[in-house]
């Protein structure tokens, strides 16, 4: 399915997907206040913001299905890109409106559902795009909530733990039906993303 003749198509799709993921979106600063300081606020923010949480879970599931190598690659690239994007977001002053979460979910959910074999560069690009795009949103949210870099580091810590646990968990699944259950979860995420996109185009959200 991923023969050499298919590669140029994938590169084009990857380029378009990466450009979409990198497109900045407006940030809603609904940061969680735990009362335990900015680091914990950052941790809580990622875990309680489905706009960020679901795409991260989708990427972890997708990478896990691709195998241990992809899981490790995502674990190294995603947090780095997230941090860089977060730093950019901390310096940004407002962003244009764009349904980034919806597009991330559509792309990553579909890739998880179809379980298409992906090469490491493709997985790297996906992690890079997701990390930079959502990192910027996180950075803006942290800046508006006044938690700064420490909040960003908190969300980064939660991100690393979450991706490591979920991707490793999926990698260790052997039975066919368990892997298909992961693909069903991916199809749900793609469906959610598509519905969100419809809402955004209609102007409902």
């Amino acid at each position: 399915m991923s023969g050499p003749d298919r590669q140029p198509t994938w590169r084009q799709a990857l380029g378009a997907g990466g450009a979409l993921l990198l497109w900045p979106w407006y940030a809603e600063a609904h940061l969680v206040t735990t009362g335990l300081g900015p680091v914990y606020d950052g941790i809580g923010h990622l875990l309680m913001t489905p706009e960020d949480l679901l795409p991260v879970l989708a990427l972890a599931l997708c990478a896990g299905l691709q195998g241990a190598g992809s899981g490790r690659r995502v674990l190294s690239v995603l947090p780095s890109a997230w941090f860089v994007g977060g730093c950019v977001g901390l310096l940004a002053h407002g962003l244009p409106e764009f349904p980034l979460s919806a597009l991330s979910l559509c792309i990553l959910g579909t890739l998880t559902a179809v379980e298409l074999p992906l090469s490491l560069p493709v997985v790297t690009a996906l992690a890079l795009g997701l990390g930079l795009g959502h990192g910027v949103l996180n950075g803006v949210a942290m800046q508006q909530a006044g938690t700064g870099v420490r909040g960003l580091l908190g969300s980064l810590a939660a991100l690393v733990v979450l991706v490591a646990l979920v991707a490793a968990g999926v990698v260790s699944l052997h039975e066919q039906w368990t892997r298909i259950a992961v693909r069903v979860a991916g199809s749900w995420m793609a469906a959610i993303g598509l519905l969100m996109l419809g809402w955004a185009l209609r102007g409902g959200n």
Binding site: L47, H174, W188, A191, R202
Partner: protein, 203 residues
Amino acid sequence: MRPRRDDTRLLTWLGAVTLVLVWASLTHAHVERGQAAGFVTGFGHPWSGFDHVLAMIAVGIWGAQLGAPELWLLQVIFPMVMAQGAFLGLIGLPLPGVEVGIALSALLLGAMVGGEVRPKLGVAVLLVGVFAVFHGHAHGTELPAGQSGLLYSMGFVIATGCLHGLGIALGLLHRWPAGKLALRGAGALIAVMGVLFLWRALI
């Protein structure tokens, strides 16, 4: 193929963690105002129409009758195609004969279950996929404006999955001869209801 115990445990654990994470976001309740805003409203929507409920349960039962790989493939395809239909509805693209399509879905899917029909994989996928567009479109046009499209969508998609799960759970009866008969009876009943829905849609 019997599930390995480790995999079952791990998947249960993963599911539980996901549920907790998703649940936390619900209780945090971002800017929830209006009926369409929340997870609960989205979760309740697919249960509100009897025709939808019957058709989706029929998909689950039929999948269970067909066994792997159709059982799983239908569950992967239905939400994605349904969301495409909902997308068309959301952006205001009209689809003619939606109510007729939904009624036909109950009729034909019920007939498939009742007759325990085993078509080729492509035919089963096509049948379910086409009807998913009608169901999705109806849901898409009915979605009221709200504050959180994400939470609503999550509830909506998870509820649809639950309905399929319910159908699959009922489909477990297929292991026993009496259960097979009961499922075929249920399919026939769904088909009869489909005729009633069709009658109502055409009048």
